[in-house]
Each structure stands twice: as C-alpha cells, then as structure tokens.
C-alpha cells in the first residue's frame, strides 16, 4: 500500500486573483498528465489548459516537482488557477475523480517531516507560521521554519561532538602522544558551553511568551475599577461593570495585541475576605492567575486606602495603576493616574503596557527556544554538563557528554558514533 496522493488549496480561501492548489504523492505526475497533457520540465512554470472528461476547467500555470526535490520530498505538482471559488471547486472535483483525496490539516508538513525534508524544529516553525497572529509571531515562526533553531542546535551539537571526540581520544589512545592537557581542556570548554546553554534557557521565556502569548492579570481590591480598566483597554464592554463591590467573580479574559505581542488580559475578582463560597473561589482564581501571569496590573482607587492583599503582589513584573484619577491623585507613589471616565492616562498606560510587553516577550538576537520541549532538552544537556565538571574519571565525563548530546539531538535528530570517530581521526594523528 503506497501512500495516497493528496491535494489542498495552498492559498487562502475565498475570492482572489490566483488560487494555488498543491498536489503531493506518487500519482502526482499521472494526475498532472491527465489534466494538462504531457509533463512540463521539472520546476519550470508552464501555461496549460486544464481539461477533465472533455471539459475545459481553466488556463493555469502548472509546475512539476519530481521528488525528492520538492517541499514534501514526494512527487508534487502546483496548479496556479484563476482564483474564483468555482474554478477551485471544479479542479478539486476533477482531482478527487482521478483518485486523489483532500489533504488533512498539516498533512503536507507532516509528509515533509516524514521524508526528512524538515527537522522537527522546522516543522514546528511551519506550524507556528500558519497560526501566527501578529507580525512579531510571524517573524519568529519564519526564523524557526527556516532552520534558525536547527542551525543553533547544530552549532551546539558540533561543539559537543568536538569535546566528545577529544575525550574519546584521551580514553582510547593512551600511548599515542596526544596533547597532555587534552582532558583538562575538555572540562573547561564544557563549562563554557554550559554557560552558553544556560543563557539560552534564561532568554527562552521571552520567545516562548511571544509564541504562546503574554498573560497580563489585573488585580486589586473590590471596586478598584479593574473591570472598567479591562473594558477601556479592550475597547469594548467585555466585563460587567457596576458600582457594587464583588461584581466580577470569575476571571474574564480579552485578547489584544500590544506592540506585535499577542496578549491575554485577564480581569479578576477583587481581593478581600470573601463573603460567600462563590466569591472565595473567585479570589482563589484571581491569586492563581496573578501567579501565572507574566505581568500584573495592580489597581488602587484614588478614593480608598491601598489594601494589603494587593500591595503584597508588588514586584518587578508589576505595574501600578492609580484608578479613578478624576476623584483625586493616586494614593500610592509611583502609580500611573488613570481615569476610565475622563480617559486621562489611558494612552500613557497603553504605552507602558507595550513597553512591558516588549521587555517580557519578543525575539532574541539568536533564534530562541520557543517551546517547553526545547527548554527540557537544553535543560537536560545543561545538567549533564554540570555533572561533567565534577565527574572524577574521563569515561564518566565522556558518559556525561554522550548524554548531553543525546538530549540535544532530541531537538532535531540523532548523532551517531561515526561522527565522533570522524572527529577523532581528523584532529589527531593516531595509530602506530
């Protein structure tokens, strides 16, 4: 049973000037021949009339990509059709009639991964690219899809490979006259690499927040004006607002984009000794959300003394807002005066939020770790390298290097012993 031949619209749905249909699988060539006559030269744009069962469907640009030199690694075809929905439907029906089936979501990328055309991080990048909502997310996904992380991982793997080769040479060829400080150099260079990996881990939170979205929680005493603030920032009435304390009981979320960073802004129940079970649960959830959020907006109303519960949440990732500034100056030094009634301070607050979003989420100079999976792999490599520095024997240091390599190779692919031996014999004159 050979794999199916699948097709899908590669361009967006709806009316457009051009629609691109992609076909991939072993029967691609046969399908193209059936629709457009003999095969054009590979990778050359050709104008053809498409026909099916005697009926002309469209005049289209057709491209023939024989495998493995195609996106999926299989034989593939691209049809650049006129973009009307009827044209696309007619050609799709013809393809189905000829035995192809519509591709499942992500199937082209999955096939490319199966054929070794993409490593795992690049495949993840493509998935991210497709679901990118903001410009910054798109740039980040594109960098990963184009192998940014794979390139970085390859550089780390290369360094580890060199270290392992030296360690192995030190173990394997005792009576060859190898450099006498070989073993010590391995340990110092491994420490340098560990620090580099640790730095990448430290930066990874920013990249991960950009990919997943930044979470901001609005916290404060009951009736401090949190829901009004949420609505003002969202630009619509997302939360119910009333003068009654304790109106918001569950967490209310809105999605916004701040400086290219997708943000989830959450309004929470006011912090106080709850009067009933439902409100108690609301307060509990508010605190849990405060814990998880990357940034906390702490709201203090001008007509009330600052409450201890909200004050206790102050740290470097908190922004202080003095709400209801139409009633008086902020009761807390350093709080930004804001009034949702007069609109005072709102542009300043928005600017402050954008600054904070850029600080907490975004792309680093080098392609970053965008998923927990990446962080776990690097974290394991780091702990093995740390272990190496205290391991008392060369074979145990080699063991640590092997484990670190295995951890890293989980990002993109495996490293085999031949690669290590190539290094050994390339670098040292070995053999009697």
């Amino acid at each position: 049973m050979s794999p199916d031949t699948v097709f899908a619209l590669a361009s967006g749905a709806g009316r457009a000037a051009v629609a691109v249909l992609r076909i991939s699988g072993p029967r691609s060539a046969a399908l193209l021949e059936a629709l457009a006559g003999r095969l054009p030269a590979p990778r050359m744009t050709t104008l053809r009339r498409l026909r099916h069962r005697g009926e002309a469907l469209d005049r289209a640009l057709v491209l023939w990509f024989p495998g493995p030199g195609s996106f999926t690694g299989e034989d593939s075809v691209e049809l650049h059709l006129h973009g009307g929905p009827a044209v696309v439907a007619a050609v799709s029906e013809a393809l189905a009639d000829l035995g192809a089936r519509p591709a499942e979501p992500g199937e082209f990328t999955r096939r490319a991964f199966l054929h070794g055309k993409l490593d795992l991080t690049a495949a993840e990048g493509i998935a991210d690219l497709v679901s990118a909502e903001t410009e910054a997310q798109r740039r980040q996904a594109l960098r990963q899809a184009e192998g940014g992380l794979a390139t970085r991982e390859a550089a780390w793997t290369g360094q580890l490979l060199r270290l392992l080769a030296r360690q192995e040479a030190f173990i394997e060829f005792e009576d060859e006259d190898l450099p006498h400080d070989l073993d010590i150099r391995v340990t110092t260079e491994a420490a340098a690499l560990r620090r580099e990996l640790e730095a990448s881990l430290a930066e990874s939170a920013r990249e991960e927040r950009l990919r997943e979205g930044l979470s901001i929680a609005i916290l404060g005493a009951p009736n401090a004006g949190k829901s009004s603030l949420l609505n003002a920032l969202a630009g619509h009435e997302a939360a119910i607002v009333s003068a009654r304390a304790g109106t918001t009981r569950d967490v209310v979320e809105v999605r916004l984009v701040l400086g290219g960073v997708p943000v989830t802004l959450a309004d929470t129940a006011g912090l106080r000794e709850a009067s009933d079970e439902i409100e108690a649960e609301g307060v509990h959830r508010a605190l849990a959300r405060a814990e998880r959020a990357a940034l906390r907006l702490l709201v203090f109303a001008a007509d009330t003394a600052p409450d201890a519960a909200t004050l206790s949440l102050r740290d470097e990732d908190a922004l202080l807002v003095g709400s209801k500034s139409d009633l008086g100056p902020p009761v807390l030094a350093g709080a930004l005066p804001v009034s949702t009634t007069t609109g005072e301070g709102l542009p300043l607050l928005r600017a402050a939020l954008e600054r904070e979003a850029a600080r907490l989420a975004g792309m680093n100079e080098a392609a970053g770790l965008t998923r927990p999976r990446h962080r776990a792999a690097i974290g394991e490599a780091v702990s093995w390298l740390a272990h190496l520095e205290t391991a008392p024997l060369p074979e145990l240091r080699a063991e640590a290097l092997r484990a670190a390599l295995r951890a890293l190779s989980r990002l993109t692919g495996r490293v085999d012993v031949e690669a290590v031996l190539d290094q050994v014999f390339g670098e040292f004159c070995i053999g009697k």
Partner: protein, 626 residues
C-alpha cells in the same frame, strides 16, 4: 563420492580460524581445520601484541566463552601492560606482547588437545553446494570433504597483493600464496566484494639497535593475565624501547612519496585511519615534528624487533634511509622490509548477525574477510562463527550465538559490521559501545557465561572457575551492601566524607572520591582478603552504580526494540507512512529487528515510528518471550 565427512570445516588457520575450529569442536561438532601450513597455525603476522583498549575487552570475552586467545597470550607473553591504568576500570585494557614462537606453540598445543578437532594442511579451492546450502569443500589436493557447515577465515589471502615501492607480489602473507580460487567462489556466489589495504613496518635486527641510547618502557611489575584461568605468568619479561621520527625522517619520506605504493596511486584499497602508514602521518599531520615509535622485541630467542608506528610501503632502500635517520637505529639492519597488502573482503552486510551468509545456508565468514583488522576482532568473530556453524551442522534452525550491543563488545562489532558494513578496516574501540561502563574486561565472565553454557562451548574447568568467581562476587556485593560505617569512623580511617551523621555502606564508600582504597580496606578489612579479580569487579560495580542503573533502564528499553523482530522478506512498501527513500534503505539492509532498523544510517525517527506501528498492527510476536 566423498573423501571425508565432518560436521564443520574451517578454512584458514589464523586467529579467526583457530577460534572457530576450537569452538565448533567444543560444541561437539566433528571439525576439520584446513590451512596451507600447519606450522603457521596461530601465526601473529603483524604486531606481536594481543589486547589493548577495546581489544583487551574482546580477548576477555573470547576467554569467557572458553576461547584460546587469552590462554595462549598468557603462555607466550613477555611484556604485560594494563593500559589506561590511571583511568576507570571500564576503559582499562589488558595487553600482552607475546613471543611469536611461544604463541604459535601455545595455540597449536591447545588445538591438539581439543577433542573432535582435526587440522590438515590443504587449501580449500571451492565450495560444493546443493539446494542453496553448503554441502562440502573441494580441496586443492583434489579431495572432496562433506560438511554440514563451513567457516571461511581467509584473512588477507583473498587475491592478496603485497606492495613494496613499485614492486607488486601476489601473496596472502610474505612467502605465502594468495587464495584466488576461493575469491572466485565467493564472487560466483554473488557475495559483494570490496578491497581494503593494511600495512606492516620493516622488521629490525635487535642486535644492531643501540638500546643504550633509547628510552626504555618496562612492562607492569605485576602482570595482569589475559585469561581468568591463568594463575601466574612464568615467562621472563622484557622491556621495549622508544624512539621518534624527526624532521630528517620526514624529509626522506616526503622526497620519496611518489615511490610509495599507497601514495603513488598503485593501491585502490582503503586503509585504516587509526593505523596509518608513516607516509600518511607525514602528509596528513605535516605540522607534527615527530612521531613516536615503539621498538617491540618479537621473542625471547628471536632478534627480530617490531618498530610499532612506522608501517610503510616505500621501496626497500628508502626504508633503510628512513630507519637510519632515527635515534638508536643509525646502524639498525632491516631483516624484512615493510609492505602494504591489498586484499578482497566481503561486504559484511551480506551476513546475518550470526555471521552466516544471507544467501547461502551453512556458510559462515569470520575475521579480516569481513573487513575487520586485528587479531582480537578476528578471534571473537571466529568463536561466534564456530559456535553457530556447529549448531547449523547439528540441524539448528536459528544459529544461537548472537550477542546484543549491551552484552558484549563482540555483539557491538558484529552488529556494526552486519548493519553498516565497513568503509575502512574495522577496529574495536570502546567509543563504539553505548554501554561502555557495563562492558568491562573485569566482568566478561559474568556477562557471557550463561550464553557459553547454553551454546555448549564452555568446558568443565571454565564452568567451575566462572561459578566460583560469580559466587565470590555476589558474596562480596552482599557484604558490601550490608556493612557500613559512620562519618566519624570514616574520618578516623583518614577518609573525607561529609560529617552529616549518615551511615554509608562499604559499597558506597568504594565509589566516593574522598575514600582511598587504603582507607576503605582499613574500614572494611575483609576487602583485603578478596581475590584480586573479585575486588576489581566490586570496585567497578560500586564506582559505576548510578550510571549502570540508568544504562540498565536504557538497555531494557532498547531490548524491547531489539526483541521486536521484523519478519524476513517484509515488503517495506506495504508499511503506511514510509517514504520511498526509507523503503529503499530498509529494503537494502533487511534489518531483522526494530532495534537494528533504528541504527541504520538515515532512518528518521518518524520512519521508525511508522514501522513500529505497522509491526504492532500486524501482531508480530516478540522473538523472546522472557
């Protein structure tokens, strides 16, 4: 129509052939060994040393399966050295330089003492086949010998050609004719052949070397035997000399490079990277000002000296000038020039992991013919092939002697060979073993005894020795787990441990860097009374315990993949989700387990997953039920 009948015929009397013949006979097969010259059985045709790092591990494995090599090396050893003594026990490799004549004598003695084994001087010219299996061997003498299985261990004899400068001499070894008929037979059988080369240095007359001018290297004061059956080394021990090449030597080599057989383009075979010719060293590492040369005596009553590190195929007169350029060798006389030898080998991917040919039942190949280099690699393959040939001849459906990578270096080697083939002569290195900390020279008996017993290749003396060793080890381990000491007691014994009030077991103590062996023995005096082998084993187990635990988990995880067999002849095109490229790679290699499929180069994790899913869906049962 038959002149003689045996269960197993072994063709070749080198290290692979001798082990194969002896192992087959130990398994109860009536065995015939055919070789050109009975006097050269057990010849060490290259360097006079057995063992080393990785190689010493293989010798201990051969020994654990009751092979000959370790015992013969102990009987012939004149310079013993435990390599990597300053490193951990897993990478320590016992090595012995042997007296060439004593080694031959020892091997020939062991073969003569083996029941059920006959050695005859005759050359095998052809195989006699029927219905896709080996039925007999046709010898040069015209005799037709019937057999149930044959093992070919032809070393460098298959269309061997010796090169010295521009001279080419067809030969298997110096002064010995190559095997051409056999090469044609293998070709006719459709076995894929390749060409490899190796080299050897000129041999020097020790009486003409100025030893006084040279640095000396003594062997270990207390020699570590290669066989666990050896009680004591009795030969007098000799020292080696050390000299170096110098810029003058390098200039001579560079000036005559065009005359070297290797560099003059007269050799097509690929040589080993870890045993380069001196020409190679000078060209590839041009910035190195000197290379170290060990001067190894070849025997107690033999003036011949083996200058290790200067293998060459330059013309004789250039070799003379090169030798004379080195300190201590100014007046040294060359007894026999160095040479390069090119020979045919079979692509070992044509073999099952049992070393039986995929397309010919009953034909086994072992040793250099499979693209390996080294006596130890040859011996280990020979032993496994011999056991399997005996079982095949005895009617067994599945030759049993296949070791896993996590069990033995021999298993790593055979797996590498039959799965990946060779691009250069294959040498055992500890770097090749994923489970290096578990595959040690000190625990070979523990790892392999049960296999040897199941296969029937272990004699009663060996069985008794292994039994005693295992019992002593277990007793020591139990005691080391039970007994312990407080931090105060540790301090009193001069050991550095955290004063945390926590009691530490003797086993734990042995793994702590702050506890010297002396301190440990002071705290636990019974450690002193342990047999040396048992103590070495216990110390290694203690030292590696945390790693071994982790490796054991990994090993079991891998063993699952290893047990998932892929039915012979599976059409990989039928596996959903496999790309054409993956199908091609798998079809070419025909891996017989999921584990082996995963180790094929270029097989993606996704492809492996697809294959695993397919096998599970097909309800393929595990090869082992345990």
């Amino acid at each position: 129509m038959w002149d003689a009948a045996y269960d197993v015929v072994v063709i070749g009397g080198g290290h692979a052939g001798c082990e194969a013949a002896a192992a087959a006979a130990r398994c109860g097969a009536r065995t015939l060994l055919l070789t050109h010259d009975l006097a050269r059985l057990g010849e060490m045709s290259c360097n006079p040393a057995i063992g080393g790092i990785g190689k010493g591990h293989l010798v201990r494995e051969v020994d654990a399966l009751d092979g000959l090599m370790g015992r013969a090396a102990d009987a012939a050893g004149i310079h013993f050295k435990l390599l990597n003594r300053s490193k951990g026990p897993a990478v320590r490799g016992p090595r012995a330089q042997a007296d060439r004549a004593l080694y031959r004598t020892a091997i020939q003695g062991l073969l003569a003492a083996q029941d059920g084994l006959t050695c005859e001087a005759d050359a095998a010219e052809d195989l006699i086949l029927r219905d896709g299996r080996v039925e007999g061997v046709a010898a040069a003498s015209g005799r037709r010998i019937r057999c149930g299985a044959a093992v070919i261990t032809s070393g460098t004899f298959l269309r061997g050609v010796i090169h010295v400068g521009t001279k080419r001499i067809p030969a298997g070894r110096v002064d010995e004719a190559p095997s051409v008929g056999l090469a044609l037979t293998l070709e006719r059988l459709g076995l894929p052949l390749g060409r490899l080369k190796t080299g050897t240095p000129p041999r020097l007359d020790g009486d003409t070397i100025d030893w006084a001018a040279l640095e000396r290297q003594e062997g270990d004061a207390v020699p570590e035997p290669l066989s666990v059956l050896t009680q004591r080394i009795t030969n007098p021990q000799v020292a080696c000399g050390i000299t170096h090449t110098n810029p003058n030597t390098h200039a001579i080599i560079r000036e005559h490079l065009h005359l070297s057989a290797v560099y003059g383009g007269r050799i097509e075979g690929v040589g080993p990277r870890y045993c380069p010719s001196v020409e190679d060293k000078v060209v590839r590492f041009a910035d190195k000002e000197r290379h170290q040369i060990f001067l190894e005596p070849e025997g107690l009553d033999d003036r011949t000296v083996y200058p290790n590190g200067i293998s060459t195929s330059l013309p004789e007169e250039v070799q003379a000038a090169m030798i004379a350029s080195m300190a201590g060798l100014e007046r040294a006389v060359i007894l026999r020039p160095g040479y390069a030898i090119e020979y045919d080998h079979v692509d070992p991917r044509a073999l099952h992991p049992s070393l039986e040919c995929r397309n010919l039942v009953g034909l086994f190949l072992a040793g250099q013919i499979n693209g390996t280099t080294g006596y130890e690699e040859a011996a280990a393959q020979g032993l496994l092939a011999g056991v399997n040939a005996a079982h095949r001849a005895g009617g067994s459906m599945e030759p049993p002697a296949v070791l896993a990578r996590g069990e033995a270096y021999a298993g790593v080697m055979v797996d590498d060979l039959t799965l990946h083939g060779v691009s250069e002569p294959y040498r055992m290195l500890t770097a090749r073993a994923e489970h290096r900390l578990a595959l040690r020279a000190d625990n070979a008996a523990m790892r392999l005894s049960h296999h040897g017993e199941a296969w029937g290749c272990i004699g009663s003396e060996r069985r008794a020795a292994h039994g005693r060793f295992a019992a002593a080890c277990m007793e020591a381990l139990t005691r080391a787990r039970q007994e312990g000491a407080t931090p105060t007691q540790f301090s009193a014994a001069g050991a550095l441990v955290n004063q945390d009030g926590r009691r530490r077991s003797a086993l734990e103590a042995l793994s702590l860097p702050g506890v010297t062996p002396e301190a440990a023995k002071c705290l636990f005096p019974w450690l002193r009374d342990l047999d040396g082998c048992v103590r070495t084993w216990l110390e290694a187990e203690a030292l590696y315990a945390p790693y071994l635990e982790r490796q054991e988990q990994e090993r079991q995880w891998l063993a699952r993949e290893e047990r998932t067999s892929i039915p012979r002849g599976l059409d990989f095109a039928m596996v959903p989700g496999l790309s054409r490229e993956m199908q091609d790679r798998l079809s070419r290699a025909q891996p017989d387990t999921l584990g082996r499929a995963g180790r094929l180069p270029g097989i993606t994790p996704a492809a492996l997953a697809a294959l695993a899913v397919h096998l599970r869906r097909q309800g393929t049962v595990s090869r082992e039920t345990a």
